[in-house]
Symmetry: C2
Subunit: 132 residues, 2 copies
């Protein structure tokens, strides 16, 4: 018999069967989890977060956003596309200009919870500076 590597030994030996048996049936659809990760990826970029943030305040056109964030029209347009595909943003045409707005209240909740987490975990870090 070939010598088994660490990972194999670990998986067969160190594992806690009562936990595995309990959790395995609860595992949700892989596709669902993939979509969820894709959604959060959209929030995981400074430019897109900033775009969402300015849209909190008001509907606005691509140029307005580019001006506010001090970035090129092209970069903003590319990112608006990503946000739109994720259904976080919707657009409305008015003549030459296209206005963008938040498409969903979950955006506010998700960003709000993110902010709360940052504040709380930052507080905890202050208290337990040592355990890094």
């Amino acid at each position: 018999m070939a010598k088994r590597d660490h990972a194999e030994v670990c998986a067969e030996v160190c594992t806690h069967p009562e936990i595995l048996d309990k959790v395995k049936p609860e595992m949700p659809d892989e596709e669902r989890l993939y979509d969820l990760a894709e959604l959060f990826k959209v929030f995981g970029d400074t430019t897109r977060i900033r775009i969402l943030y300015v849209l909190f305040e008001s509907e606005m056109c691509v140029c307005d956003i580019a001006e506010l964030l001090n970035m090129t029209q092209s970069a903003i347009s590319h990112q608006l596309r990503v946000l739109k595909q994720a259904r976080l943003v919707r657009s409305r045409r008015e003549g030459k200009t296209v206005f963008y707005a938040l498409d969903d209240d979950h955006v506010r909740t998700i960003i709000g919870q993110g902010m709360e987490h940052l504040e709380e975990s930052h507080g905890r870090r202050k208290k337990h500076e040592e355990d890094l």
Copy 2:
């Protein structure tokens, strides 16, 4: 005078000053938004989402997670480090084995809202298949 490019013209001409003046002062701290994007980046990976999901059910050790997700111990360990640095997960040593658990209720809220958004926006896509 050199010919000005489109972006410049756009920023100076097509912009809506009443909107910009209203939104500019509301812009939050750049650093805060950066941290927020960093946080969501952590949620934006299938492996990490799956780890968080199994930890919903129960505290468990690295090997358990590796076995459940059918991945190597090393890959899981690397990702647990990321989750821990983001304060989404905490660890507790018991002899040789290290148990990981969710560190924060915001994790549940954020993931929950993400799921809701997916379901709703998926519903909307069914209704308005055309506007892609």
